[in-house]
Symmetry: C2
């Protein structure tokens, strides 16, 4: 208990800050007179006071946090903020269970974008605003987490090439530098979001829709204010704009930051992930467009290209928007998209999955093993971007892959044991652990996760948190070793 209280102290502070973010939907509700104001009054009050109690009540246990405390703090932040975030939903949507509300807010904060809600178009606009704001906040928290915090905990793809990154990341430590870095990243994230809002507005969205969908795009979240998602707009220019910003958000924000600071595009070229991410994604777009055209899903290549590009980029970047029910496509296409979502996006982006850098390292490690078989006594090094990768990092990545696969297999088995069909089970787990959003079959883009039982919903909620917290951060908290002195 002594161990947890200093962490609760910090959590209390974060909770108080989080209550302030509820003022935004409050203002939206007030401005649009959508009748939901009281919901935010309540939630701001409850959240702020809870945070205050937690903070003040643990004041005398305040101490500097150790690396070890960081794991629990991160887990508690994500899981408890999501709990507070349910309040407006529970107040405004009658018959919504806590299980479903919590799934929805975890889905937002983890930028998964899977939803249990339907009739989105009839909800008070401020509720949809709140949902997409959660995605945006989750995306921002995530970037800071991935770029500044997780590497210090010895986790995350970012640390892999910290050594070779010029500029602000070089010797970041848990010191004022981190605040500075986080601030820079926040600025870049906000600036690109603003550009996205303006572009979406110019492409024809209303201001409110532009803000909400920009939030959802930048966090690679996938929440929409319309049941038909982007199908609602049916606008090639809106789709084009969104594709561009999804691709931008799939690149490491530290790289964007360096481009912005240095006023040069060189960091994009030096980024070991960006080129591959774009290459793999755009090649897949072309391949899927050809495939859909060939299979006769669309009468002409251009239509196939339009649908393939939006939906493939959306799933590959783990965004989860849809302009059509791609579950109806020949199964190879959605499977390939699901496959892309598991590794295409960059570390330090708002995307999910194992990240491109881990995929690269895994590939190189396999090649290295083969070389070692041919030259048993030779020394073979694994290099990335001209740098030798230390063995302990390759270990960590390989162990990461194992947990990732083991998690997918075991949660799929659990879901099938609870009565869900195989494709729905597997795709739900993959879509949740990669923080993508829509799966296939019963949880496909044309339906919602509301079909799941409470038990199945909790499994998916766990999967979303597991993926978002890079597996280890969450799992380590459940090991006996963590709680031992």
């Amino acid at each position: 208990m002594k161990k947890v209280l200093p962490i609760v102290h910090v959590l209390g502070l974060v909770t108080m800050l989080f209550s302030l973010t509820m003022l935004a939907p409050l203002m939206v509700s007030w401005g649009l007179k959508d009748g939901a104001v009281s919901a935010y009054d309540e939630s701001v009050a409850v959240t702020f006071i809870s945070g205050l109690i937690a903070w003040a009540g643990t004041n005398r246990f305040k101490r500097e946090l150790k690396i070890r405390d960081g794991f629990l703090l991160v887990v508690l932040i994500w899981s408890s903020l999501a709990a507070f975030a349910t309040i407006p939903l529970l107040v405004q949507i009658p018959d919504l269970s806590f299980t479903d509300a919590y799934f929805e807010t975890v889905s937002g904060l983890t930028t998964t974008g899977a939803t249990v809600l339907s009739d989105l178009d009839k909800l008070p606009p401020s509720i949809n605003f709140w949902r997409t704001e959660l995605v945006w906040l989750g995306g921002m928290g995530l970037i800071v987490l991935a770029v500044a915090v997780l590497p210090l905990l010895g986790i995350g793809g970012r640390q892999l090439y910290k050594a070779e990154t010029p500029g602000p990341m070089k010797d970041s430590q848990l010191t004022p530098r981190i605040t500075e870095t986080a601030k820079g990243l926040w600025l870049v994230y906000a600036a690109i979001t603003l550009a996205c809002i303006l572009s979406l507005r110019a492409a024809g969205m209303t201001w409110l829709d532009a803000v909400m969908h920009a939030f959802s795009t930048m966090g690679l979240g996938g929440f929409s204010s319309h049941d038909a998602s982007f199908g609602y707009f049916n606008s090639p220019s809106i789709e084009a704009v969104t594709i561009v910003f999804m691709l931008i958000a799939g690149i490491n924000f530290a790289t964007h930051f360096m481009v912005w600071r240095g006023k040069s595009f060189a960091p994009y070229r030096r980024d070991p992930e960006a080129g591959l991410f774009l290459g793999v994604t755009l090649t897949s777009v072309l391949g899927i467009a050809l495939y859909l055209w060939q299979m006769g899903v669309y009468p002409d290549f251009l239509t196939a290209l339009r649908f393939a590009s939006f939906n493939t980029v959306s799933i590959a970047t783990t965004t989860g928007f849809a302009t059509t029910d791609f579950n109806q496509w020949p199964i190879f296409a959605p499977l390939w998209m699901l496959f892309l979502s598991s590794f295409a996006s960059s570390s330090g982006s708002t995307g999910g999955g194992i990240k491109m850098i881990r995929a690269q390292l895994l590939y190189k490690q396999v090649y290295r093993e083969m070389k070692k078989l041919l030259h048993p006594d030779g020394v073979v090094l694994t290099k990335l971007g001209g740098q030798v990768i230390p063995n302990k990092i390759i270990y960590a990545v390989l162990a990461f892959l194992f947990i990732y696969v083991a998690s997918i297999v075991s949660m799929t088995l659990v879901l099938t044991a609870s009565g869900l069909d195989v494709i729905s089970s597997f795709s739900a787990v993959v879509a949740c652990i990669n923080n993508t959003g829509p799966g296939l079959n019963q949880v496909g883009p044309a339906t919602t996760f509301a079909v799941l039982t409470d038990f199945q919903t909790w499994v998916c909620t766990f999967a979303m948190l597991l993926g978002r917290l890079e597996l280890f951060t969450l799992l380590i908290v459940f090991t006996p070793a963590f709680w031992r002195k």
Copy 2:
């Protein structure tokens, strides 16, 4: 070319020896007068003469083989013997394409047991004999490969705890010792097979069926002479005998050998895999029996236990016999069985999958990574059976897992792209790469692999060889580095 010829020399010798194994079905055919004698005449002649030409023609290139040559030799032996083995099938079964015949013989030699043939009961008995003999030979070749040859090539689970194995394995080298070891293993394999034949006969099979099913059981192959597989016998005592021998064959034959040599059961206790293999398999039997009973698939627990035990042990050990169409069970049960097949059986057994020892190491490695996160500066070692496992072995195992997963994912994608449904695609790949046999849906236990197109059949054939040759052995031959000077 100079590089390949000395290997072809050895291959020629092995091919000549292999032609002699065709004398067995010839004698069966002759004894039973099933009218297939000429098929074996032809195949013995063609195979022997081909081997002779390859051997004699390359005599002047004869030299001692290097470790590197071993990879190619192993790949060539498995793939070309399977080609010669098709001759009796092609002669005796009209309308059988080479693609399908080759699938069938690869399935036999890799002890997979997936079949493209139906109306097995109407085939000449000697053809079924030949099919099951292939399984038995494949199983024997496999044991020698896994226990004596692959470790020298730096591959395979066996090497993992070579250091701690007392007795004959201790300092085996590619010297007379290997011959001795191989001979010992061969004797044990033959002796247990004999026991299996006698037990099956005692349990009520005809002599011919007893021999064929003992061959198929000991190789954990799964070929039967009946379309209904073990459902044909509908005999609890035959099922019980078969379960026992499948479990025996799922244990490392080097351990059996040591038990036999030392006249003590102690090696079973020291074997780091045997206990876990039996524990996991038997616990699963009980769990699945309860599940099937609970779900109302069988009216009483004992019937559920009977069907669960035979089919679960059969799939977990990668045998592939069936007493019922378990594809009709609630999907969790067959999925769990498929999952077991991927890791339950021991290295050095005739089973497939990644093997129990790799699963153990992967689990331990993950726990080690977690500990390292909590104690970044501490040294954490991975131990198995009291021995510290060197890092390079953990590396190799992790890389193995990656190739295994990547192979399953990519071949599943290829099969879906070719038009097969997801569950059939995935289960076919898993059943083939684990050398289990039946999959689900279209390739389930009630059907055959004949529904596949030629292209899909070749993908499955490749998957069987890939799994059987422990991935690396086959893949390395396709790398440019292998062919470079």
